[in-house]
């Protein structure tokens, strides 16, 4: 805009640039450096080359277990949550009365889900004599040992995150509502049934938001900390000991900053590679309106 120097804009973004350098760029590079060092806070970091990584991949049983559990958690939670969010969004998209009421009701868990209070509630709900087992008892079934069994314990955390499907659902719903209604009329005239309509019209048109939700939820799921920390405390038998818990313990309990940084970088690399694969594959399955391919 006239009258002011071309550096005016830079003045406005200056807080961001300063913050970026101090709190993001420098820590990002420094953690990469730390991952090649032995650093226990008592003395300066000492360079150990690839030792940390070598130990991680060859001699660290906890890391193997933790990595496996993390992958199982992410690849079960994200698809379940997104499928459920999409299913509910599709139902809400029919012109139903009370849509606002339902949308609000479904969104409340998303607002609260990250809080410790809800993790505490979860810990109670799935306790041996907790709410879920009381309900199961009403139907005359045996109570389930939720936290004692490795598979069940991880599943309680998956359930907690699926319970928070609201934010993904709101994004799906907005996309569904923006679809041109005349497309459905055309399909109906052509004699398509509901499933065909969904499969061939709705689904392709919302692939951009599926892609968006998928990336966001995956990045988030890989960083899950509160759930396992509070609800299961990583157990039993480390069956819910996700990588962020391991990093936390190494860094802030054992103060083994070098090793913790190496684990963090492995986690970061996995997230980055998966994101890149997703972006690369998106050319094949994500449909953008106005695009010539179809």
């Amino acid at each position: 805009m006239g009258g002011e120097s071309r550096y005016m804009g830079l003045a406005y973004v200056m807080p961001y640039v300063v913050g970026l350098l101090i709190f993001t760029a420098f820590p990002f590079l420094y953690s990469f450096y730390l991952s090649f060092t032995d650093y226990s806070l008592m003395s300066a970091p000492t360079w150990v080359g690839l030792d940390n990584y070598e130990k991680l991949f060859t001699r660290d049983r906890t890391f193997d277990k933790s990595l496996k559990v993390t992958l199982i958690y992410v690849f079960s939670t994200v698809p379940l949550k997104l499928a459920f969010a999409l299913f509910i969004a599709v139902i809400l998209n029919y012109r139903l009365k009370m849509i606002n009421f339902f949308r609000t009701a479904y969104y409340v868990p998303s607002i609260l889900g990250g809080s410790i209070a809800i993790a505490v509630l979860w810990r109670y709900i799935f306790a041996d004599t907790g709410l879920v087992n009381m309900f199961i008892g009403v139907f005359g079934l045996e109570p389930v040992n939720w936290f004692g069994d490795p598979t069940n314990a991880l599943f309680t955390i998956t359930l907690l995150r699926c319970w928070q499907f609201g934010s993904a659902m709101v994004i799906f719903l907005a996309a569904l509502q923006s679809i041109d209604k005349s497309l459905y009329e055309a399909a109906w005239i052509d004699g398509a049934n509901q499933w065909q309509t969904f499969r061939n019209i709705t689904l392709p048109l919302i692939t951009p938001v599926i892609f968006f939700n998928m990336i966001m939820q995956t990045v988030q799921a890989f960083q899950e900390f509160n759930g396992p920390y509070i609800i299961t405390e990583g157990g039993p038998l480390k069956s819910t000991y996700l990588l962020p818990l391991y990093i936390y313990e190494k860094a802030f309990k054992n103060f083994d900053m070098g090793y913790a940084s190496a684990i963090a970088w492995v986690l970061f690399t996995i997230i980055m590679v998966l994101t890149l694969i997703a972006f690369w594959s998106s050319k094949k399955w994500v449909y953008y309106a106005g695009d010539k391919r179809s």
Partner: protein, 300 residues
């Protein structure tokens, strides 16, 4: 089902067909409402039960799956409020607000300024900085956490509230900046240009023209930041070590660890109090959101 072209001559068949379609539609709607109501109940029952349970006695919590307490008591609240520490929960609420208030306030100010810079100006390095903003959106915090901790240790900020909000005051939450940039791009520049013609400088334009137009978006930034900060656990867990500085999230964790034999009614009562501010803000803002959208953004 196949939709056959109705035979116009055969009116009886047509109406039968219509009746069948209408009945189908009614059954479908009934199925949809049933699913929605069942899911809604599943979503809300844990919360409703939580509120009910906070008024129950400890033994009833483990025997009554219903949410209405048989012998309502305030014991959970009274005993829970006292905590097992020398402080009451009032202290932990006060600590939480000492983090939340500066964080929300400075996030709103810095994110608005930075978004304005990106959306309305050309300057050297803009493309690179904007690209880093997008990259930061996807950057997992887990890689920057350890050096950030070391940095705050070196400047002597450990066990204070500063590490929890200062990065946000420098527009550290890329998501909010990005969101405001998107909003600004959708707002026509006419009014701003008119103001500039009338002699307003860019800062005056920002404060008197852009901020009022962006108000609904800025409010939602504040809202999300409020919720996220109230819920934040890992940040305080890393940086805050003295109990007298604990926010609610850490105090709740402490109460699970220290309460003898799990006095669940106390813990659940304090959990209810912990989520109350977020619930109040959410329901108040619901209305504000709708108003913001129906006001229609740009007028004139």
């Amino acid at each position: 089902m196949t939709v056959t072209t109705p035979d116009i001559a055969d009116e009886l068949a047509l109406t039968e067909h219509q009746v069948r379609l209408r009945r189908r539609a009614r059954i479908n709607a009934a199925i949809r409402y049933t699913i929605l109501a069942a899911v809604g109940l599943m979503m809300l029952y844990p919360l409703i039960w939580l509120i009910g349970a906070s008024f129950k006695t400890n033994s009833e919590i483990f025997s009554n799956p219903g949410f209405i307490p048989r012998e309502p008591t305030l014991d959970g609240y009274i005993e829970g409020w006292k905590t097992s520490t020398p402080y009451t929960f009032a202290r932990f609420f006060w600590n939480t607000f000492q983090i939340v208030i500066p964080k929300v306030l400075f996030t709103a100010i810095s994110a608005t300024m930075v978004a304005y810079g990106f959306a309305r100006f050309e300057f050297p390095g803009k493309k690179i900085f904007f690209a880093t903003l997008i990259a930061t959106l996807l950057l997992p915090n887990v890689v920057t956490r350890i050096p950030q901790y070391l940095l705050f240790r070196d400047i002597g900020w450990l066990d204070s509230f500063l590490p929890l909000w200062v990065p946000s005051a420098l527009a550290g939450d890329a998501f909010f900046v990005f969101m405001l940039v998107q909003f600004l791009r959708a707002i026509p520049r006419d009014m701003e240009e008119a103001a500039r013609v009338d002699g307003a400088n860019s800062l005056q334009t920002l404060i008197f023209i852009v901020v009022p137009l962006l108000k609904p978006a800025i409010i939602s930034v504040c809202l999300f930041q409020f919720m996220w900060t109230m819920n934040d656990f890992l940040g305080p867990l890393i940086y805050i070590s003295s109990v007298d500085k604990f926010p609610i999230s850490l105090a709740l964790k402490l109460s699970i660890d220290t309460t003898e034999a799990f006095e669940w009614n106390r813990i659940l009562a304090m959990s209810v109090l912990a989520i109350t501010p977020a619930l109040i803000v959410f329901f108040m803002a619901q209305k504000h959101f709708i108003e913001g959208i129906s006001a229609g953004g740009v007028k004139g």
